[in-house]
Symmetry: C5
Subunit: 355 residues, 5 copies
């Protein structure tokens, strides 16, 4: 069950647009602000106490990545809005964690809304978290609802100076973040794919009542995944075509690659959706088959014994004048007749392939 | 049941186009005309008796918002048409409360038709009301079928001078009205989402006959919602692209935000529609399962006792020469045979997982 | 059953294109040619005997409306083609009453093919008739298969000089005709909507065998309606954009309004189609529920009595040595045992909610 | 069963593109080459023995129509390719009779691939044959798999000089051929429409097991028809827009008319496909209803007699001490009790509408 | 089961983009590098040990085709990347064998990803292998996962100098490879088509439980085929329009032909998908019919004998005062009554067509 995507909190209705209200779950922990500043040569990571400290990164020539964990303190966001000159509607979008994924160009910055999905292997649920990214010239702001995420490998690569990341600008960092989130979708797809395969084998062997529930759950999880990835297609496509001057030409090819990945996720999701629909057909026809088998057993037994029982009933009658009752061979002859009837029925059932 | 969207009243057929006839339900109350005139500094609210009084707002430099509650007095509308120079087809559209939502440009004004939906928590019905908005340069006319609506918070914000509203022009007021109506859709979606969740749990636990009715009702309400919001997408999209000179550039970003909201509503509606379709599958397979279970019980019982009853019938026959009847151990031996048959059947049923 | 849209008459095959053959039903009555000539000041209506008389209207400055009722006399049409210089393919289209609705521009005239539908309240059938309209500069030719139609109100308005009609050109008259035909679609939709509502209530209360037939008929009638209105959308859209010089600028807004109406008809048709599809689901699940109920009754009764009957059968056996038969309390004790078994079963059924 | 469209013969795989191999069935008859040469004044028809003779028609000012019946002699086609300068890929397409319909422009000629369908009234099967047309300036080459076809009326019209055909160029002849083929689709649609109608009535009256087979066959035949006509839409649309200089301006209007016919075929096919889908629903619900009825009969009979049989069983027991057995009125009283129980059940069944 | 398309290996997650990791199955065999160098006159084929040797083909004027079998040695690919100046993202795509088919333009080369499918006749499974092609000016690199493939006929044609192949450039070679792969799809379609036909006949005759499994498998194989071919459509379409300067004008027509083939594959796949969906309907209605038949037998037998058994039960009662028991003709009269009842029922069943 992914509550987030389904329940826009009631408290937002009737407010003026641009009013900052956080609609996610309220957490007790403090807002964490971490900061990484790097260029090809140096890297500098620290934790920030007061949001005002971030102001000094505004004008550096190094790439600055400010990550905010937790959105429940409105004041923090308001300050960030003032320091980095961000439109109040964008701030509202960051706080409203039921946004649809999107990438929007504003004057001087790019705003990305992404769904960071994760898969809980034990409960087999998909956990959704909204990640917002503001990309300015040498600066990247990222906003998460909760600490702990798929972005840690990026931090590692930054620190170790692996790959292109340290040598590239903030646009490449933005790409790396989206790529990490999309890569996670592949992992979730793999998990769902395994479940589909398991379910498929279970259905062909022995369909149980829980199968429908599982099919239904898979269907919904695929809907969730689709809603997370579908809107990214157009958004990333416009980036790869160089429509934003914030993305340098050398990075375009990477957004092209990202676009490929997104299309592959969409393709696989659609593929799985068709398979899951097929599973339901499989299940329903399996249930039909079972019913058929049950009915056959009932019919065979009843059809076998009802006529015989009738015959026995006839000779259980107490009429005074029933000549057969007194004959000596009546009883064995009756047995022979019954066995003949039974044999005839058995062969008829065999012809009908009911036995 | 949303009668409005389904029954264009018969009385309209065969009339010349542009003929003014109100096709909604006729109400006994008077038409209410309220008026708010404001700029950044002052605000002035009053109730108007005669429609001619509104003429004086035509040329003011302050923003004037004239709200008409009730459409049943044709004369009022005819006068407004004359005073503010509005095309008779537009007036016809305002009166015909079964319009499709749309936003249309005319020379010097913009005409919006919106569906203001509300959700009756007790009857779980969606109530639909048509709101028409005429946006002129410094003037906004809004037409409603009934008093009492989702626009009250806007009036509050105007009076209190909160947010951008008081400092902005009539175009921003128009945006605020559409935004308030679309916000209401989120609330209805939330209500429907809760019902889907409740229904889903009920279906997995114990499907009842009413579930189909509820699924069907949900389906129809989602159709209603979709028909209210779907046409807005293109309409608002053309506004946000600045295709009307009545919308100032500073307001465009807000229409962009509104467009996002509308797409989110559409997305969620489609999402819910798929879920509701899934619910029907869930219900049908659940009914199948039940039938299966009923059949199994019948089959098990019948298959168990029919052969035993046949045996009992045999020895209830009254033949004079049935040697078994006279044997001393016949009766207990028969019991043993019956118990063996029963045991054999029980194990067979267990193998088939019917027990 | 709408025969027209389904059976292109065999007699047409293998003919050269442009060969004039009337494929509708042949009627015995005469072809009726009526004629109305008007401008803002005067109006003149007469019936014409010989088609050649119409030639004199070719060059008048007043608007001339020539209406031809009945298409079975090919000569009439051939003459009209010569007098008003109409392409033989257009004449062929007029005669072939299984045309798809369309609006086509030719040099100097506009050719419209429309489906005039009507609803027979008694038989609940949709009656279809093809109306072709040729719009030239000051002239409008309309062709109908049968007399008596939805155009009478237009004639009334012309005679009484109501509305814009008398003061406008032939293009407005063309608009008025299409509008009258589309208005009729609303009426049919209303009738179908009522039947859907009635059927819906019937289905929720008590589904009968005829319901499927009714659902199927509704489905087909909606297909008919959709095929009549769907092609008009694009056709009228191109007119409203002013792509034909025969439509004056002042009339464009009316075609815009007409376009709105057409989209509304399409919307409602799609809406109804979904509802009807929902009705089928409702019916099928209702049938399933009934079957379930029937099965439950059978199962409860059989499960109740079969074991009891078996017990009775046991003590109906005629063994000489059945000690229970001689005991004094056997009979009442057996009743007690049977009642206990019955009670146990009843409680089990109640737990399963079968009682 | 339309084998052609489903089985690309294995023998083609792994060949170089452009290699000429005929993949249709091999016929024993000779390839027939017939030739018609005409202009407004004269017409000349002959049969040609050697393909080289056709070379002389290359440069005439009259229109030449060369028709080749039978594709199994590769040499004939190779020669034609050389004489008329046709690309080897086009020749390959002509031989490969599993082509998709298309119209392609090459330098100096137009290549059309069409499916000539026919309907066998006895076997109720659709027979498919590929017709390829090469249109050059004053020359038209047509290739058929078998002699005898829908083109005979065109030859008749040519000989008799009826209509525009004799007076027009090769482009009009090409149009006439496509038109004749498309006209045949209408005939097939009519046949299918009649079968749908018959099936529909049969289903409403009394669904049999063969109905599904018939529904399935109709579905497949509509798929065949759709695959034959669907690709023509775009192809003919580009011709009517004058994209090929081989089609003269005067002929464009005829291709426009043809385009209309094609859209009408597509419309009708989609219409029928929906109806056939509806027929399946009708059938399935009809089967459900029957099952329901069968179950009701079983339930009524069983529920009626099982309790009564139990009572009879009770008094068939042989206990020595059963006081009722000795009472004088027991037997008639029991009858009364049984009749009361039966009456109660009957009224209950009537309430449930099972009787 | 096509594992490849469903399981992106876990080991890729969290890596920097462009990191080279082979995600297919690891094979023990060595990587095979074969090389063919040809022009119109000469052809030269050899096997290469060290990847560095390929560097010398970079600048030749003959066409060089380097084929790499096996992707598990990353070093080989890294070297190729350096020698031929290929972007690391492209190399990553080559190694990642779960790519979606695509054709991408890079500066100086074209990158194609294709799915080479094969059909295992014994297991009736589709085997998928990814083939990547790099097309440079006079050079073509092809990468396969396994040796042995559908490209052998191309090598033969090269050696024998058949057709256009030897005389054309590397672009025609690229076309020939794609064409060979697409040709294979036709073969698979033929195999699937045969299975559909066999299944169809089996279903009409006697549906078994395995039919659903077979239908489901066919469905999935068609999904696989569709995912292999669908993305090629747009890719090849852009090539045929001459969007890449690497494809010479003379080759464009062949890509056009290829495009036709691809569309035909897609068409046939869609066609088959509809047929398979129809098969499921056929199966389900067939199961319904069977159930119906089983139920009828049960109902007929039970309805026949239950009332008769009841009558026998009545006269098996042991009441002392049952006058009928003593009458002389009771027994034969009862038989007559029973036969009358049975006859009445038989005629009723016949009327209902249950017998």
């Amino acid at each position: 069950m992914i509550k987030h995507s389904r329940k826009p909190s009631k408290s937002r209705y009737g407010l003026p647009p641009g009013a900052l209200i956080h609609v996610g779950e309220r957490k007790i922990e403090e807002v964490e602000i971490s900061f990484i500043d790097y260029d090809g040569q140096t890297i500098n990571e620290e934790r920030i106490e007061h949001i005002q400290e971030t102001a000094r990164f505004r004008e550096t020539h190094t790439v600055s990545w400010i990550n905010i964990n937790g959105l429940h303190e409105i004041g923090v966001l308001e300050n960030i809005g003032k320091i980095f000159d961000i439109h109040s509607l964008v701030l509202e979008d960051i706080l409203n964690t039921q946004q649809r994924p999107k990438i929007e160009s504003y004057e001087g910055y790019l705003h990305m809304v992404l769904k960071m999905l994760d898969y809980n292997v034990d409960s087999m649920e998909i956990v959704s978290e909204q990640v917002s990214v503001i990309l300015k010239n040498n600066l990247l702001l990222s906003f998460q609802e909760r600490p702990g995420d798929v972005l840690d490998p990026i931090r590692e690569r930054l620190k170790k100076g692996l790959g292109k990341l340290r040598k590239s600008g903030a646009d490449y960092l933005a790409y790396a973040i989206v790529d990490a989130i999309v890569d996670r979708y592949f992992y979730i797809l793999e998990m769902l794919g395994e479940r589909i395969e398991v379910l498929e084998e279970a259905l062909l062997a022995d369909p149980s009542k829980d199968s429908v529930k599982e099919i239904y759950t898979l269907k919904r999880q695929l809907i969730t995944l689709r809603h997370a990835v579908w809107p990214l297609r157009e958004a990333v496509n416009s980036l790869r075509k160089g429509e934003s001057e914030l993305v340098q030409e050398g990075t375009l090819i990477f957004f092209g690659d990202l676009h490929d990945h997104i299309i592959q996720v969409i393709d696989t999701v659609e593929n799985y959706r068709e398979m899951v629909a097929g599973l339901l057909d499989l299940y329903l026809s399996s249930v039909s088959n079972r019913m058929n088998e049950v009915m056959k057993v009932l019919t065979v037994i009843a059809t076998f014994f009802i006529p015989l029982t009738f015959i026995a009933g006839i000779y259980g009658m107490n009429f005074e004048f029933m000549p057969e009752l007194g004959w000596k061979w009546s009883y064995p002859v009756l047995w022979v007749i019954m066995i003949i009837i039974a044999g005839f029925m058995a062969s008829w059932f065999r012809k009908k392939k009911w036995l």
